[in-house]
């Protein structure tokens, strides 16, 4: 997922005609002070840390300034701050507005209904999870006719809007709908959507662009969430990589098989830490790449669970033995391999001859790798 920082989300909103406060992004206290001094950002202003985590208001990541000097001080206090694991590198300076009421509105995909869904609530400005179900309206929108006038009127009624303000919501929802589709968004969320006089203004912007659609939007290719170097390498090789705290590394092909493997390891007292999911493939080259990647994550033991489809198990086994040789002696780890499919007997023999534990049973292999991780092997 490409998660856009608030200021990028608001730039996108501006392009589509969604009203946002006047503001600009800064990356240093000098820049922040300058933006205010030149009037590019009117006073009084809000200084918001550009991090993806929520709860910024309570967490000291949103400050206020009445003078250029105060803007500078706010920037100094915020830039470089560690907020829930993210380092603040950018701040957004915006005009401070007199807010009448705060609403919630978002567009996302309803996987079950297989249509986009417009979610609205008159109780914005708080975490939507805390809002009572009855106060949340879910409006499925069919992709072909698109957002209909009556669906927008329904939102206006929920918000208690009429006249020019209802008209303002109508235009805003049209803009959101166009942005959602044209930008291949996974999520567009405005919380809060503020009533300022008789205008509606997006005070925040959460926009997530679908990874699989980035080929249509090269401008997003550079904006990625912070990944560890290993995660970045895995991404380039189209391997799903998740790093957690456990000590057993798991390499499997397919999300379902990976999850089933974790379930079994946990059952036998294992603590899986790093998961590499090769996707549906049993391509020996990819297995080898995943294996070498895993070596860099330094697990106590590794469980390789591959169900072979097209490739023969002996081919995968040969690649694995070769990969084991490439791992520096200091980084070696106990490996338990379970390879099922064509020629599995030959594959297991090749692995055993190279000193790798190999059994066809899921239960037996899981027990073996848990024992190895606990130093009992």
């Amino acid at each position: 997922m490409v998660k856009l920082a608030e200021w990028r989300g608001k730039e996108l909103f501006r392009r589509y005609g969604v009203p946002v406060p006047q503001g600009q992004v800064a990356r240093s206290p000098d820049e922040a002070e300058e933006l205010v001094r030149t009037g590019a950002v009117p006073l009084p202003c809000v200084v918001k840390a550009q991090v993806l985590a929520g709860g910024r208001g309570k967490g000291g990541a949103v400050r206020f300034a009445n003078t250029p000097a105060e803007a500078r001080a706010a920037a100094e206090a915020t830039l470089g701050l560690d907020f829930k694991g993210e380092t603040v590198k950018e701040i957004l300076l915006e005009e401070k507005l007199a807010i009448g009421h705060e609403y919630y509105v978002s567009l996302t995909l309803d996987r079950n209904l297989r249509v986009p869904i417009l979610i609205a609530s008159a109780q914005g400005g708080v975490e939507i999870e805390t809002v009572d179900d009855k106060a949340i309206d879910r409006q499925p929108v069919h992709p072909f006719p698109g957002l209909a006038a009556y669906e927008k009127r329904r939102a206006a009624k929920l918000f208690g809007l009429s006249g020019p303000t209802a008209r303002s919501l109508d235009l805003l929802l049209d803009s959101l709908w166009r942005a959602f589709n044209q930008e291949d968004a996974d999520l567009i969320e405005i919380n809060p959507l503020a009533l300022v006089g008789d205008r509606l203004i997006a005070l925040d912007a959460k926009v997530v662009i679908e990874d699989d659609a980035v080929f249509r939007h090269p401008e997003y290719a550079e904006i990625r969430d912070d990944r560890t170097p290993l995660e970045e390498i895995a991404r380039e090789k189209d391997i799903a990589f998740v790093q957690l705290s456990g000590n057993i590394g798991v390499i499997a092909n397919g999300a379902g098989l990976t999850m089933a493997t974790l379930d079994v390891l946990k059952e036998f007292g294992g603590d899986p830490g790093v998961f590499l999911d090769l996707g549906g493939t049993d391509d020996p080259k990819k297995v080898t790449e995943a294996f070498l990647l895993m070596a860099q994550a330094k697990p106590k033991a590794v469980f390789l669970n591959i169900f072979g489809g097209v490739t023969r198990c002996d081919t995968v086994a040969t690649g694995l033995v070769e990969a084991m040789r490439q791992v520096p002696a200091a980084d070696r780890f106990p490996l338990v391999a379970r390879i099922r499919g064509n020629n599995e007997k030959e594959g297991i023999e090749i692995l055993r001859a190279a000193g790798i534990t190999a059994t066809p049973g899921l239960k037996e292999s899981a027990q073996a790798v848990v024992a190895a991780a606990q130093g009992r092997a």
């Binding site: 309803d110 986009p116 997530v208 659609a213 379902g256 999850m259 169900f307 489809g309 097209v310 099922r340």
Partner: protein
């Protein structure tokens, strides 16, 4: 009988000249499938594994009377490929391609639905009826003809489970891999009625995963409309909760979507739920009416 794919199935492979298309055309033939045509624009007149290649699906259908499509074309072109096959009269399209944007899939799903066509996938292993035909990429070796239906959201885990059923001495009527993408053409609830009506299916194995509410919906359907025994497995009981940005997704699935809610819903609907994949074959043997599954 069997479900959706039978001895009458005649497959056109879209993207047949690519690596995957070529490899799996051969595998489908070895399974006994009638692969009657291939399509790659600009490659008309050539052939792959003895299968004639055409420029368009319409030409392929006119020449070969193909009635099902297997789509391997790359993600950026998958939407057009599906629309082309539906327009050519194909009413069953298996989309193997992964990484199709869900915005494209929304268009594909609703277009196919309006025209009365069924999509399996995308990003799926496909569908196979042992002894009859296979459309997709499930390894041939895991199958043996029998009376157990399989519906799964997973890929390789499906192979694992189908193989386990075979090793237990049971066989399958039809196995459908639904695919794990955000928008899929056929869900559990869409697939279950076919098995309910199939006289050659005695029991169904359902392989689900955490996330979404497809399994809960299936449980609801099973409780009211499904009379055959169901054995289910939900992968990911121990998976760490996923990180999300924004909270809209959580609002849609509020109170659902965890392994616990799925298992509880399925058990309440009368399904036997396996805790681990290797428990499935015994459970299946236990629910089969007789030794008919052999």
């Amino acid at each position: 009988m069997s479900v959706l794919v039978t001895g009458e199935t005649r497959v056109v492979v879209q993207g047949i000249t690519g690596h995957q298309g070529t490899v799996h055309t051969r595998q489908m033939q070895l399974f006994g499938t009638h692969v009657v045509a291939g399509v790659t624009p600009g490659k008309a007149g050539t052939s792959v594994e003895g299968v004639p290649v055409f420029d368009s699906v319409q030409e392929a259908v006119d020449a070969s009377r193909a009635n099902a499509s297997c789509i391997f074309v790359p993600a950026p072109f998958a939407r057009d490929a599906l629309i082309e096959s539906v327009d050519a009269g194909i009413r069953l399209a298996v989309i193997v391609t992964e990484h199709i944007p869900f915005h494209d899939m929304l268009v594909m799903y609703h277009y196919a639905r309006e025209k009365g066509a069924r999509i399996i996938g995308p990003n799926c292993p496909g569908i196979a009826s042992p002894g009859k035909a296979k459309v997709g990429i499930i390894p041939n070796v895991v199958f043996q003809p029998g009376r157990v239906g399989v519906i799964s959201r997973s890929g390789t885990l499906t192979y694992e489970i189908v193989n386990g059923i075979k090793e237990h001495g049971l066989g399958q009527s039809t196995c459908i891999g639904l695919g794990g993408d955000p928008v899929i053409g056929t869900s559990f609830v869409d697939a279950l009625p076919y098995f309910e009506q199939d006289p050659e299916t005695d029991a169904v194995v359902m392989v689900g995963e955490i996330g979404g509410t497809a399994e809960e919906d299936a449980a609801e359907f099973i409780a009211h409309h499904f009379t055959k025994p169901v054995v289910a497995y939900i992968a990911g009981r121990s998976a760490p909760p996923g990180k999300r940005m924004g909270h809209a997704g959580a609002i849609i699935t509020r109170g659902k979507g965890t392994a616990e809610t799925k298992v509880a819903a399925l058990e309440a609907a009368g399904a036997k739920v396996a805790r681990f994949p290797y428990e499935i074959p015994d459970l299946v043997a236990g629910v089969l009416p007789t030794e008919a599954g052999r």
